[in-house]
């Protein structure tokens, strides 16, 4: 054993607490050496151990009849989608790397999440992403947007999996610490999925893919500390991606699994060889002897701890059935991949790391992992002081607008970056490779992806209005889940499962911890109501600006739904002039946390919109049942920008216009631009009008006949506002124009 003992000071430098150092000494029965301390520091980092979040994550609904893998136990979530198939999906953050090196940070985020999917034996079929940036007009934000979008595009396009959906918001709180959350969705036949286990002692363990270099060392630790002005010195912690290798690894992995030689597989993301060897060992209750000198290296002088902590991309660890080594090696050779047997499974329960015959580290595998010896903390929280600012908000202090002002506001709002078309961004992503994207030619609130070999489809969405969560973490997070579910329901799908990406500030900040704890509470309530268990995901703390202010609490919800029959599939565009427009749900005099208030009126602090889970559920089911009964021509959820923007989007997509009458008894601004929750705008042919009304009455939901689809004009309360095209211009060009300035 390497003798030199590591000190408490070194532990602190690696991000460990003194109490954690003492715990390591207890576990080992001695003081750790530097290599061992490094291993503990990454495995017990926030990123790998979830030490400050797991207590609350365990309160989320994590069971359901469709779940095929226990939440958080495997590399990604797995749900049964019928026809003998399972859907494997997960969302993950790559915030900190993207904030200092946007191109590589975003690219490797895409690479990492896809490896999580195919390491389970599922071929990825679709990707989504959720992005947050600061003010689009600053040079820094433009640099970040260009880099992140090109990074996601270059990686995903070459890897060959379509990007089918996503969301992008611009708010000042993300100026220094932008968020990049990437989601991947794959399909695997039920029973063919691969576990991240190791099997019995004697099984050989291979590394394959790229060689290991010094890039990304301490990436997990970097993800687990505050962003600061010094963060640029962490640049070597950012990994470099190669989508071509990833594509080869995908194809090789799929072929390898077909041979039956695979016992278990895990990708190397955070904490590289350390994490994959210890987690796979702990999962099966075995150990591994790892010969680090056998790892294919990019440079000659790498030390044991560097090899253990490197986060070089495009690497996989696979445990092969003993005796099938040559079968596996043939596959690696066909795809011309670097590979080497670097370990063997043992029955010691310990991961033992050797370098040129010298034992460099000897640690019980269980002690390193979440659910094993990794520490678990419950931090203190206190009510955020900014809530007092929100309480001061009085709607009456904001003057309502007259019709002429409303038209101007509508033009401005439709060109607001948070509302305007994101085509400048999404057209840089290949959205059609793989021939599964059914939304290209028929738009809908959730992306629709064909499940090949069946006549059914997946409905996919990512959602989080973080401004709501900021105003009320519990309700706001309920709304995030509800909006995801609503997007799937109005597309004709049945919500099936959730993956979450929890982006928050520093958990040691009591106000941040309040946001986190209450957001999880809200998520739990909503996921139970919509019967969408949380299958897994990722927590990203320490997202904040250089001045120490946290980003908005941003618990991004990725949701998967199933469209059972092609005729259930609903689209958002208006179909025929003369169809009747109905608003399902109740509009309140509510401007709380709306884009109108924030962006046009400059109000930073206002309450979360009114929200009631029961009311939401009833609206969703009423619309869903109207869809499956064939009553509707279109359905579109009302979200940012309110009713007017929803109508405009449906009109633009259908190349039509609309004639709206706002409800009496409401402020004009709230009626047009308010973001009252639990509302869906639907259209119905005159022939089905009575059937729809009777259905909605029976369902017991509020509804209003608010207008008619027109051929090209926009009419509001009897006044002509011009043509759809006039509004479409700002909507379609705003982001591109700003990016090119």
């Amino acid at each position: 054993m390497q003798a030199a003992v590591a000190t408490v000071d070194q532990a602190r430098q690696l991000g460990l607490l003194e109490e954690e150092y003492q715990k390591i000494c207890e576990i080992l029965g001695r003081e750790p050496n530097f290599t061992e301390l490094s291993v503990f520091s990454v495995m017990w980092s926030e990123h790998c151990s979830y030490k400050n979040s797991i207590t609350w994550l365990k309160t989320l609904p994590r069971e359901g009849s469709r779940m095929l893998a226990a939440a958080g136990e495997e590399n990604a979530g797995l749900v049964d989608i019928g026809d003998g198939l399972a859907c494997c999906f997960k969302i993950e953050s790559h915030n900190h790397p993207s904030a200092i090196e946007p191109y590589q940070g975003a690219a490797t985020g895409v690479g990492g999440i896809n490896r999580d999917i195919f390491s389970m034996g599922a071929r990825p079929i679709a990707q989504l992403n959720s992005l947050r940036f600061g003010n689009i007009d600053t040079d820094r934000t433009k640099w970040l947007v260009k880099g992140v979008v090109k990074g996601i595009g270059d990686y995903g396009n070459a890897f060959g999996i379509p990007t089918v959906g996503g969301e992008v918001y611009f708010d000042d709180c993300y100026e220094q610490n932008n968020l990049v959350n990437a989601m991947s969705v794959g399909i695997v036949p039920v029973g063919k999925q691969i576990s991240a286990g190791a099997g019995p002692a004697g099984n050989p363990v291979y590394i394959f893919g790229s060689a290991t270099g010094k890039d990304g060392i301490h990436g997990a630790a970097f993800a687990s500390k505050d962003m600061s002005e010094d963060s640029i010195s962490d640049l070597p912690s950012v990994q470099v991606g190669d989508p071509f290798w990833e594509k080869l690894i995908l194809e090789a992995s799929m072929e390898l699994i077909e041979t039956g030689a695979v016992v278990g597989m895990q990708d190397m993301g955070a904490a590289g060889i350390t994490c994959s060897t210890s987690e796979m060992s702990a999962k099966t209750g075995v150990g591994m002897d790892v010969w680090l000198d056998k790892v294919p290296m990019r440079q000659a002088d790498m030390k044991a701890w560097e090899l253990l902590l490197s986060e070089s991309q495009e690497r996989m660890l696979v445990v092969i059935q003993k005796g099938m080594e040559s079968v596996a090696e043939q596959v690696f050779q066909k795809w011309e991949l670097t590979y080497e047997q670097i370990a063997v499974v043992t029955d010691t329960g310990r991961v033992r790391y050797f370098m040129n015959g010298v034992l460099e580290g000897d640690i019980p595998a269980e002690s390193l992992v979440l659910g094993g010896g990794a520490p678990v903390y419950k931090r203190e929280w206190e009510t955020p002081s900014y809530f007092a600012e929100i309480e001061k908000f009085q709607l009456d202090a904001i003057a309502d607008i007259n019709p002429a002002e409303a038209r101007v506001a509508a033009l401005k709002l439709s060109a607001e970056p948070n509302i305007a078309s994101k085509r400048w961004i999404y057209e840089q992503y290949d959205s059609m490779v793989g021939t599964v994207n059914q939304s290209t030619n028929v738009p809908s609130d959730a992306a629709v992806v064909a499940i090949k070999g069946t006549n059914r489809s997946l409905a996919l969405t990512v959602d989080c209005n973080a401004r709501y969560v900021f105003a009320d973490p519990d309700k706001g997070c309920q709304i995030a889940v509800a909006e995801a579910s609503r997007n799937i329901r109005v597309t004709g799908g049945v919500p099936t499962g959730v993956t979450n990406c929890l982006n928050f500030g520093n958990p040691y900040n009591k106000e941040v911890y309040y946001q986190f704890k209450h957001a999880i509470d809200g998520m739990g309530k909503a996921c139970r109501k919509f019967d969408t268990p949380v299958t897994g995901g990722n927590v990203s703390f320490y997202n904040q600006s250089t001045s120490g202010n946290a980003v908005y609490p941003t618990p991004t919800i990725g949701m998967v739904g199933i469209i059972e029959k092609p005729e259930h599939r609903m689209s958002l565009h208006f179909k025929n002039a003369g169809d009747l427009i109905y608003l399902v749900g109740k509009t309140r005099n509510d401007l709380g946390s709306s884009q109108y208030l924030a962006k046009l009126k400059g109000v930073e602090y206002s309450p979360c919109p009114y929200f009631d889970l029961e009311e939401e559920y009833n609206v969703q089911m009423a619309v869903y049942n109207a869809i499956t009964n064939g009553m509707l021509q279109s359905a579109h959820d009302i979200s940012e920008g309110g009713l007017f923007i929803a109508a405009l989007e449906s009109a633009m997509a259908g190349k039509l216009g609309f004639d709206l009458c706002t409800e009496s008894g409401l402020r004009l601004d709230a009626a047009l631009f308010g973001e009252s929750q639990s509302r869906v705008m639907v259209t119905v042919s005159p022939a089905s009008q009575l059937a729809l009304e009777s259905h909605l009455q029976q369902a017991g939901v509020a509804y209003t006949h608010i207008g008619t689809v027109a051929s090209a004009g926009v009419v509001v309360n009897g006044e002509s506002w011009g043509n759809t095209d006039e509004f479409a211009h700002g909507y379609n060009t705003s982001i591109g124009n700003r990016m090119n300035q």
Binding site: K150, G153, D154, N157, A158, F159, G160, D242, P243, F244, W245, K247, L248, W335, E336, R423, Y426, E427, Q428, Y429, D430, S431, M432, V433, G434, T435, N437, Q438, T440, N441, V442, A450, N455, P566
Partner: protein
């Protein structure tokens, strides 16, 4: 007619193309691995889209050196049918089987969206059966799709009817707005002077199945099947 799809490491439209070819020809499709030189009796060779060998040097620049391409070049020299889509088109230009080159889009960005195409010559193996006023909605997805050739070459292409597709507006007019990448003469697809080697940047295989709600691309595959039947 026996179709073969070449698979390079980094190809990513191979599966999509195979699915559509199976569907439109009603026959099995042979997969041709980049290291093989035996075309296994295939009469129709297809080069799919993707990023062959990562395309880190220049799109198609490495693929042209692969063993399989030496056989494809011989197949073309003997009058055999070869069709490259997107990266396949880039490889054909790099290999010298088609004239000209595909440069970075004028926007300098990757571009993935539906565009509109019209046939430039109605009497080729990929446009047969189309009408002069035919407009097809077909997706593109490329960063290097700006067709370029010197003036003499371009004049030859035009005179000989070797421009098979041009970008156009939804109603069939040619304009800079409807040209997604800055291609000279709005060129989206061309063929060689022997009319047996074809290349196009847009992806007809991405709009050939009912479940995708756009089957405009099917006309291209139907033309290939039809001309194979009439020439044999």
């Amino acid at each position: 007619m026996k179709c073969g799809v070449v698979i390079f490491p980094g190809s990513n439209c191979d599966r999509d193309l195979i699915e559509v070819l199976k569907d439109t020809t009603g026959s099995p499709v042979t997969e041709l691995w980049h290291r093989d030189t035996d075309l296994q009796g295939c009469t129709h060779i297809f080069l799919p889209g993707g990023f062959s060998y990562g395309d880190y040097l220049r799109s198609g620049a490495i693929a042209k050196l692969s063993p399989v391409m030496q056989s494809v070049i011989s197949h073309a020299a003997n009058g055999g049918f070869v069709f490259g889509i997107c990266n396949g088109f880039q490889i054909l230009c790099e290999s010298g089987l088609l004239p000209g080159a595909l440069l970075r889009n004028t926007s300098m960005k990757f571009s993935s969206k539906n565009v509109f195409l019209k046939p430039g010559n109605l009497h080729t193996a990929v446009t047969e059966g189309m009408a002069a006023e035919t407009v097809l909605k077909v997706p593109i997805a490329h960063g290097e799709g700006r067709y370029y050739a010197d003036e003499t070459t371009l004049a030859h292409l035009e005179q000989n009817g070797q421009v098979v597709f041009r970008y156009c507006s939804e109603n069939g007019t040619l304009s800079d707005d409807a040209n997604p990448n800055g291609s000279l003469n709005h060129i989206a697809g061309i063929c060689n002077s022997g009319f047996n080697v074809f290349g196009m940047m847009p992806h007809p295989e991405r709009c050939a199945m009912e479940y995708l709600h756009n089957t405009n691309g099917r006309a291209v595959f139907q033309a290939i099947v039809h001309s194979a039947l009439t020439t044999v």
